[in-house]
Structures are given as structure tokens and as C-alpha cells.
């Protein structure tokens, strides 16, 4: 089995895991960790048993890693625990603080834009546009959280 085939086997496994996880930055991070783990484990096995069939070695690595379902299940459990933790009064304080901070950043950024362009960009217009972007970003994030 060539190195290309090993790479293909790894990528196929990664795709199966990715399909079961939400499409988010966190998932990308997790997949990066898993890919790195697979290569570490595989290369260690190749060093220990250079004469063994590479297909056999990569199969062993993927078996030890767990099935995509097992990994997704653990990921789901961690997410549920985090959601439960967020369901406290602190959550409202956190959201209020974030909202205040977002408004402050929008106002400051609009003011800077208005000053830098010497009034060519109207302050209120900049506030409205930046607020629209902030709301859009929030909607995307909310959708990602729901998918999780």
C-alpha cells in the first residue's frame, strides 16, 4: 500500500467524522487534532514495524481512534454539558455584557470612520451598517450553535 493510499484512507475517515459533526470553527479545530493524532500514531507504528503492511497499520490506528460515531457521541456529550452549564442566571449577565460591548465597538468604529473620512461617511450611516453586520454575524453564530 502506498503512502498516497494511506493518506486517502485517513482523509476518508476524516470525512466520515466531519459529516457527523456541526460545521463550525470548533469542528475544524477538532478535525485538525484528530488528523495530527492519526499521523503521530501511524508513523510510530511504521517505525516500530517497518515490514508490516501499511494498510494493516493504518487500520489499527483508526480502530484505536474510534469510529466516527463514537467520536461524535463524545463530542455531543461535551456540548450538552456546556449547554447545561450556560443555563444559569450568569448567562444573561454574559449576554448583556456582550451586547453592550458590541454596541460600544460599533459606535467607536463609526466615529473613527466618520473622522478619518472627514464626514464623507455619515456617522449614523456607519452605525447602521456596522450594526447590520453585527446582527448578521450573530445570526450566523446562532445557526452554527443550533447545528451543534
Amino acid at each position: 500500500m502506498s503512502d498516497n493510499e494511506v493518506d486517502r484512507t485517513i482523509e476518508n475517515h476524516m470525512k466520515k467524522i466531519a459529516k457527523l459533526l456541526p460545521n463550525s470553527f470548533e469542528t475544524e479545530d477538532l478535525l485538525e487534532d484528530l488528523r495530527s493524532h492519526i499521523y503521530e500514531s501511524y508513523n510510530e507504528k511504521v517505525q516500530k514495524s517497518p515490514d508490516d503492511d501499511k494498510m494493516h497499520l493504518i487500520t489499527e490506528v483508526l480502530e484505536a481512534l474510534g469510529t466516527p460515531e463514537e467520536i461524535a457521541e463524545e463530542y455531543g456529550k461535551v456540548q450538552v454539558n456546556e449547554e447545561e452549564k450556560k443555563s444559569t442566571p450568569d448567562r444573561w449577565i454574559y449576554y448583556t455584557m456582550r451586547l453592550m460591548l458590541a454596541i460600544l465597538v460599533v459606535v467607536l468604529a463609526s466615529w473613527v470612520v466618520s473622522i478619518v473620512t472627514e464626514g464623507a461617511v455619515d456617522f449614523m450611516f456607519a452605525v447602521v451598517v456596522l450594526l447590520a453586520f453585527a446582527v448578521l454575524e450573530w445570526l450566523v453564530r446562532t445557526q452554527q450553535t443550533k447545528d451543534a
Binding site: E26, L34, S36, S41, N43, A64, V78
Partner: protein, 117 residues
């Protein structure tokens, strides 16, 4: 009718899940300069005689959670064997939580021993 896991097996899974986060903190604490995920998996298997052995991929959601809780910090280093890898180190808060949990775990085992007598 399909038979589910025995009471004993379910109990083992639950208790393993419970102590795993503590075990990960203990291993990271043992490595002042940090340790990567693969190293943690190897130590979990080797230093617990397989008692806390798990499917290695399920370790990463746990590491991510500990990072989110700000108990672990992470930096990236180049790996000779493939893509760059993350190295995990205990934060100040992680160190405090680990010490607290160590006391709690000690107390729990002491009380359980007393219950057996």
C-alpha cells in the same frame, strides 16, 4: 430481545468518564513544558495499566472542553511525523482546580475505604 450492557459495564463507563477529565489534568500537570494529545493518550493507556483506556479520538472533545473552561492552554509545535500538533499546558486556574480535585479524590477514596469496613 437485544440485551444492553450489564449494570457493571455501564457503571464502569460512567465512572471512567467521570475521572477521565481529572486524569487528563493530572497528566498535563506532570509535564511542565506541556504535552500533546497523542502523548496524553499514550500515558492514559500506559500509566493506568489500561484501566482508563479509551478510544483515542474521544480524548479530543474532552481536551477542547478543558480548554474552554480555561484549565488548559495550548500552543502549536511542528511535528516531524506529519501536521503540526497542539501542546497542552495547565493554566494557573487549571493548576488550582487540579489541586482542589486531588484533595476531593483523596477524600472520596478514604471515605469509600471506611465504608467497606
Amino acid at each position: 430481545m437485544e440485551k444492553g450492557p450489564s449494570f457493571e459495564d455501564s457503571w464502569k463507563i460512567e465512572i471512567r468518564r467521570g475521572v477521565l477529565q481529572y486524569a487528563v489534568l493530572a497528566i498535563v500537570n506532570h509535564h511542565e513544558k506541556g504535552i500533546h494529545g497523542y502523548g496524553i493518550a499514550r500515558e492514559l493507556e500506559g500509566r493506568t495499566d489500561g484501566l482508563l483506556q479509551m478510544k483515542e479520538g474521544t480524548l479530543y472533545p474532552i481536551l477542547h472542553r478543558l480548554r474552554k473552561e480555561r484549565l488548559l492552554n495550548v500552543h502549536t509545535e511542528k511535528s516531524e511525523s506529519g501536521p503540526s500538533r497542539k501542546v497542552y499546558v495547565l493554566t494557573g486556574e487549571g493548576d488550582r482546580v487540579f489541586r482542589q480535585l486531588t484533595i476531593l479524590v483523596g477524600d472520596i477514596f478514604e471515605k469509600l475505604e471506611a465504608l467497606k469496613k
